[in-house]
Symmetry: C2
Subunit: 276 residues, 2 copies
């Protein structure tokens, strides 16, 4: 199975892209809803969570790992690759970066994401590694995740806030805009409308799905071993009506989340947190 | 010390109220920023977290516990009182409920909070226990916490969203509005302005501070044993520039958060989450 993890439900946009690009492959999702979001947490904490998420996916039979969380991709990818050298590991940042470098003509690029992603400077660094002449402008959009999770995808309040966030990038004249957060593809219509036709909007979920497709063409041995079938599995670390509702918004009415059981699951501080 | 815990930084409004109402008493705060927010998580998960938060505060010398988180207050208060019968435990819901019942004249009351708090129906249930003739209208306002944490306290976007949330309560003719979330006191000016002079706005942080003051008057033995001094302690489970920034917004520029150390802290799934 292809195992995908995210801090919460947002990574389902990657699932959606994989279902479209690689139909037939069986998918295994884990959303760490008990500790979501990651974007506001420290690198050390995010790395520890990402290792646990990966362990869970591997324990459930994942043969490939996709880090569908920009915060985790930003700080944990190298550590995971070193820790699991035998597992092909993909993440949502690099494929979007490659595509961006390939399509920008004016060499002026905008990146939107959570505060953590933008402040990490990861997209700018990776873009400049490939082409140092490209100018990159990052814009944190911390209210977009809560707006998406409310289902306010087309409301005037959302449009107004999107307009406010994108204005500085328009002024800079960017011709390519990277959606650096897995929630943002749901706002792509209003983001594209605001940016106008001359701006290419890069969806990191689609790019990572495409990259995995390329990899499997080059590695038929890996592709042959992957499980096939339509019965995807969707696990979360905390199951609530809200996570169900958001999952339906992201993927399909028919999605059924499962609680990652558990026996003793629930991160415990007791006995370890404490005495100064 | 009076120990206060919250899922994150919002409980600092309770700290602020305690500093004003009971100056001189030493305060110990714990914000579970590694797992914030609680409002979107299941009751079982919130109870487990609340027990761990309480254990931490007790291990650091707390003599009184204040649950400064509506989600935890709603689902964990009885369990904590049963588990720690010797510790006086206060929470942010009951004092606001008492005040509300005392001040409403039209007996039409509004409550705003996170989706979890409003869907739990806790305020309505507790108000009706005291006076079944009062009509209670709950309104979830899930975007207000992210807006406050962005520091957008007076922006037009915030005013617009507040107006949208409060409109149904205005239409119902409420004469009393409960701020059922510790973040909302920071929006009190625009909330009060929108509701108008004839609506009393109840701040649960102030009410719990008042109730603790009353308790200490009645129990001078407990009051005498409490530590005094201005050197309050502020712990968080994950320390980031963002949590520092938000803490300054809530309390004072001089606040310094400490990471709750740690040795092995960081909730671990490994070995416990997994095998189906």
């Amino acid at each position: 199975m292809i195992g995908i993890f995210d801090s919460g439900i947002g990574g389902l946009t990657v699932v959606r892209a994989l279902m479209k690009t690689l139909p037939g492959l069986r998918l295994l999702y884990f959303g760490d809803t008990a500790r979501t979001p990651y974007g506001t947490k420290s690198p050390e904490t995010i790395v520890a969570y990402a290792i646990e998420d990966t362990e869970f996916l591997l324990s459930q039979g994942a043969q490939i790992i996709v880090i569908a969380c920009n915060s985790a991709a930003s700080v944990a990818t190298d550590i995971l690759k070193e820790r699991y050298p035998e597992v092909p590991i993909f993440e949502v940042i690099s494929p979007a970066v490659k595509k961006t470098v390939a399509v920008t003509q004016k060499k002026i690029v905008g990146v939107i994401g959570t505060r953590a992603t933008i402040e990490s400077g990861i997209y700018e660094r990776k873009i400049k590694e490939l082409d140092p002449t490209i100018r990159v402008f990052g814009q944190p959009c911390p209210l977009l995740v809560p707006l998406v999770e409310e289902g306010w995808l087309k409301r005037p309040e959302t449009k107004r806030i999107v307009r406010k966030y994108l204005q500085p990038l328009k002024v800079r004249g960017v011709d390519t805009l990277v959606l650096g957060c897995t929630h943002y593809p749901l706002l792509k219509p209003i983001i594209s409308a605001k940016m106008g036709r001359r701006t290419t909007v890069i969806d990191s979920s689609e790019e990572v799905a495409r990259e995995i497709g390329e990899f499997l063409k080059q590695r038929p041995d890996v592709a042959a071993r992957l499980e096939r079938g339509p019965d995807h599995l969707f696990y979360v670390s905390d199951l609530t009506p809200t996570s169900q509702r958001i999952a339906r918004l992201f993927l399909t009415e028919r999605i059924q989340l499962l609680k990652a059981e558990t026996m003793g699951y629930l991160p415990l501080l007791k006995g370890t947190l404490g005495v100064k």
